[in-house]
């Protein structure tokens, strides 16, 4: 894993800030996010709904409708292109070729009035100068590659004739049709049955391995992340609160939010009589975000400063970065004292 991260990154996101201008005010969906992904590497973006993970992902492809979305600051370097300043033409060349995206809901992600094969060969034709018949053959091969049986017949069917899992395979087929360098999977299994989830993740991983794609895997489920990710970035209220390699995040989490998330993942063999842990409260309103740490109102170790100032990002070495005031030397007393109970959670999380 370590050798993957040492390569020149394919995607570098720096201090990205994205807002949505709505009738009730400016929603600061992404408030300064930085991360990078290298070829062959999988980064998991984890967070609850509304934490800004999908907006971040869609900004990489500039898929958010602008307006109301607005990139306020920051840069997104994708394969040598500055996405935040790219014009329409450049973005069109990038989309579907350099970067592909798998969406959350396979039921609505495909055009209901277009044959599945056509939806795949459309993206092939868009980026390659080849004959229609050849593109169709390629579409059939792709359908076969995403493990849909009877590919030739299936290609001529409409999405409504596909089951949910098969549709998601179709959507994956669309996204990988041109073998993109970066594949973004936005909660690809959330809308699917548990039994299908594993198949879809397997499929994504094997395609990624074959083609050495970089992948951003977005999820709210840390349990899923374990199977997939090399590195994990935990998002909360439009910021990355902690990121590091998967092993570190699972076994040595630092941020109280990450610890809380890990505690709330059900584990095999867990005592069923005990209620699953839940983080009390709800994420903050992003129209008027708190001036201090956004997690402070829900944090068991909240200090006075947490409500006043944003915590700085602290580099803990080996790419493990966390933004929390508890890491400040002056917070030692609170970190040790109140944290004793919460600290054990990391052990529990690591036991999986």
């Amino acid at each position: 894993m370590a050798d993957d991260t040492s390569k020149k990154p394919l995607l570098v996101v720096k201090d990205l800030q994205v807002s949505f201008d709505t009738a009730s005010g400016e929603v600061q969906a992404v408030r300064g996010v930085s991360f990078h992904v290298s070829p062959g590497e999988t980064l998991a973006l984890v967070g609850e709904s509304g934490s800004g993970k999908s907006v971040t992902a869609q900004t990489i492809m500039r898929l958010n409708p602008e307006p109301p979305a607005r990139i306020k600051a920051g840069s997104v370097m994708l394969d040598g292109v500055e996405v935040t300043k790219a014009d329409d033409k450049t973005m069109q060349d990038l989309r579907g070729k350099t970067v592909g995206m798998v969406f959350q809901d396979p039921m609505t992600a495909m055009n209901p009035t277009m044959r599945v094969g056509r939806q795949i060969d459309e993206v092939v034709l868009e980026h390659n100068k080849i004959a229609n018949s050849e593109a169709w053959e390629r579409a059939v091969r792709i359908i076969d590659a995403v493990r849909i049986p009877n590919a030739a017949d299936r290609a001529r069917q409409y999405p409504s004739q596909f089951s949910g899992g098969m549709r998601q395979r179709g959507v994956i087929g669309i996204s990988i049709a041109n073998v993109p360098k970066l594949l973004i999977a936005d909660e690809p299994t959330t809308a699917l049955d548990v039994t299908i989830q594993a198949q879809i993740i397997d499929l994504l991983l094997s395609i990624q391995k074959e083609e050495r794609m970089a992948m951003i895997f977005i999820t709210h489920d840390l349990g899923v992340t374990a199977q997939v990710a090399h590195r994990i970035a935990v998002m909360y209220a439009g910021r990355i609160v902690e990121q590091g390699d998967a092993h570190t995040i699972y076994h040595h989490p630092v941020h109280p939010y990450t610890k809380g998330l890990l505690k709330s993942v059900p584990k095999p063999g867990q005592d069923r009589s005990v209620d699953l842990y839940a983080i009390e409260g709800a994420p903050p309103n992003l129209i008027d975000p708190p001036k201090g740490c956004a997690f402070s109102p829900r944090c068991e170790k909240c200090m006075r400063i947490c409500k006043e100032l944003q915590p700085p990002a602290t580099d803990l070495g080996h790419g493990h970065v966390c933004s929390c005031w508890l890491l400040d030397p002056r917070a030692k007393a609170v970190a040790d004292a109140v944290g004793a109970g919460a600290g054990t959670s990391s052990e529990e999380g690591g036991a999986r």
């Binding site: 201090d15 800030q17 408030r31 300064g32 930085s34 910021r239 009390e280 409260g281 709800a282 994420p283 903050p284 309103n285 001036k291 109102p297 829900r298 944090c299 068991e300 170790k301 909240c302 200090m303 006075r304 400063i305 409500k307 006043e308 100032l309 944003q310 915590p311 700085p312 990002a313 602290t314 580099d315 970065v321 933004s323 005031w325 890491l327 400040d328 002056r330 917070a331 007393a333 609170v334 004292a337 109140v338």
Partner: protein, 328 residues
Amino acid sequence: MASATMTAAQTADVQATSGVAGMDDAKLFEWVGPEDESSINGAHAPKRNFWHGVWTRLVHDRAAFVCLIALVVMILMAIFVPMVSPYSISDQDFTQCNLGFMENGHIFGTDKLGRDLFVRLCFGMRVSFIIALAAVIVSLVFGAAYGGISGYFGGMVDNVMMRVLEVISCIPSMIMVILLLMVLKPGVSTIILAYALVGWTGMARLVRGEVLKLKTREYVLASRVLGASPSRVILRDLLPNTVSIILVELTMCIPGAILMEGFLSYCGLGVQIPLSSLGSLVTDGIKDFQGNPIVLIAPSIFLCLVMFIFNTLGDSLRDILDPTLGRQ
């Protein structure tokens, strides 16, 4: 606010925190713990009454607000002008025929029989509003019940009821109404009845669709598992959740009813003299306006205004109540 770009170097910058709110480090790094649950949940998602929210947004929508005010003014005019005016709707004064705008104390002048047009207009609005309201209520009750029953029971019942509805809605409503009015005596109650007979199909279809969608939800299932009777499930669980679409449909129905009354008046099947309605005034105006344009222009403007107001209100309500429809 502190910039989001904080590098590792800044972490050690002890200065960064000094002087915040005049507190020293010891105080700043004192443990305060999480906020209690109620303030966390309550702080960002204030739970307001649903209708209060709708009302607030309606008032803040400029077009809807203006329409609402205009509607209130019109309703007040319709109620009070015929009561306080020195003229009545049927008083004919042949010395005061065909007066124009603001002549001899008649605000909108008089018609060819010397009747005060302003009073007749306000009275006409009263009749039109009553027809619209009554027609809409009747069609609401019948349509919502029909749709609710059809959607709730589903299967064979739904199939048969929908076939019946399909057949009825295929018959052009205007033709149906004209046929009915030829049989029954023209008048306010007949117009209401006629509209109610043909005007409920849209409502029934809408409610059925919504009920079909809602009845698969868990809370309805829970209610049925607990042994609630069908009528209870329909009345307590399903209908309250269809209120918003019903409300929008109702607002959109009103101009339809008023327009129909106008058409009927034009065909000579509207309210009978000496009563007046917006439609009958326009129809009378069409005959006489070449000598005195105000007899057509005043009722036409009011008729168009009423239609416009209800359409705009309906649009705004739909935007507010159903964000998946219309402009977002």
